[in-house]
Amino acid sequence: MKILIPVFNILLIIFFPLLYAGVINCEKAWWCGRRGPSIWQPFYDFVRLLRKGAVISTATSPIFAIAPSITFSTMLIAALVVPLANNNSLIGFPGDFIFFAYLMGLGKFFSLLAAMDTGSSFEGMGASREITFSTFVEPAFFIVLASCAILTGQTAFNQVFSLIFLSPGIKVLSLLLCSAALFVMLLTEGCRTPVDDPNTHLELTMIHEVMVLDNSGPDLALLTYAHYLKMVLISAMIVNIFMPVLDNSLLSACLFSAGLILTALAVAVTELSVARLRMSHVPQFVYFMNSLGYILLFSIILIAFSGR
């Protein structure tokens, strides 16, 4: 049975991102009372895009051509270290959450370069916004993971997340703060509603969508896929905070998938119930993750190490 888990995880990495997007869209349509697209629509779109040819502007340098592939591949490699079903990551080593963060950073760096490379003012604006929010998210991610590492005494992704649920004394507190911080990260990195509106058609207010305006065909397919994969990975962290390691692999895999669907539903509900923030108010929302992280870190230090 144990051998099935890595296989399940690989399948999860391959198929789940597009399903995740489909679930969010379906959910939003259902809440609005529309029939909406089929849950498999992202798959159809993906295949359709792959069959098309790519149009590349003559004004761009080779970076524009290779950037989507790099972004896609870095996300795939990053997916290897994130613990998925049964808190099991495909590879794991001490300090791999740093590896994860910088792989994500590398992919983002190239997509930013590509956006700037087109010379379009809209894409440059989108890139500048994306990097502004990332500067708040990245340190916050490290703080949150570092506090989890302090709490559990482990530095490998999968061990941190398998132990955090069992940590004594301050379980409720750490679960609460950790998941809240990661949810803010999910909304920011995934460019979902309070930060960005994925449905908008106005380039002036876009963040992620505007960066990929010039990509087409397979390039666009890869970028979209990488984007959803990123959301799935962050959701996987949130789910794993609440998941202990179980002996029954099948049950654990099912629970994990259900958890991922639940986070997708949570994202959809947030999108439906919250209005998009004004661009000048977004940094304070993103900074919330830092605040939560600091409070988590210092409460853990205070509670766990003050001996009281």
Binding site: S280, H281, Q284, I303
Partner: protein, 211 residues
């Protein structure tokens, strides 16, 4: 669980510092009162009945129900629907609040080397809440927000007094309760008066008396 409640109590302050809607402020005051009430139920269940009743009256009755209701009534009756403008952008407000949290946790952490310190989480969060209440008073323009800032400072001191296991005599506690209630009541009446006299509820209006 106890710690989670306390930290949640701190998080309400973080939320207040990030928003500018008066309704949210009142909701946060209500949540703070409820959290203190739950905290009392969790920690004080072995206290004497009169003391427990008084504490419940103070948290649930005064802090969670009466004061938010009264403030909401004042807001409605004075048509204060505009936002509570801050004199500094909300982003800096959130950053400052976070810094205050870090600072207070450091103070609490440092205080463990002293004898007789209260529990560090209580201590840290209550310092942070008191300082943030002062920050709200300093940076917000609306008079009604100053009353809310005052209530936040009071909530912070209440948490601090919970951390110190020592109980005041009942008569002193009653007096404290009465004082806070009358203070908020008077402040509320004065908000109404100031509104009807100045037709504006901004602290910048109150600058006629100076030397």
């Amino acid at each position: 669980m106890e710690y989670a409640l306390i930290v949640l109590f701190g998080l309400t302050i973080l939320y207040i510092s990030a928003t500018s809607r008066l309704e949210v402020y009142i909701n946060c005051l209500f949540i703070q009162g409820m959290l203190l009430f739950l905290l009392i139920l969790l920690t004080m269940h072995d206290a004497d009945i009169p003391v427990l009743l008084l504490l419940i009256l103070e948290t649930l009755g005064l802090k969670a129900i009466l004061v938010p209701w009264f403030l909401r009534y004042i807001i409605r009756s004075n048509h204060i629907y505009r936002e509570a403008e801050a004199s500094l952008p909300h982003f800096y407000s959130v950053v400052l609040t976070t810094m205050i949290f870090i600072f207070s946790f450091f103070v609490a952490w440092w205080s463990t080397r002293l004898p007789d310190t209260p529990e560090t989480v209580y201590f840290g969060v209550s310092i942070a809440v008191v300082l943030n209440g002062l920050l709200i008073i300093l940076t917000r323009h609306k008079i009604i927000t100053h009353v809310m800032g005052f209530m936040i400072v009071e909530n912070g001191t209440f948490l601090l007094s919970l951390a110190v296991a020592r109980e005041m005599p009942l008569i002193v506690n009653l007096g404290i309760l009465l004082d806070i209630f009358v203070a908020v009541f008077l402040l509320g009446i004065m908000v109404t008066r100031i509104r009807s006299t100045f037709e504006e509820l901004d602290i910048d209006m109150l600058t006629t008396l100076k030397d």
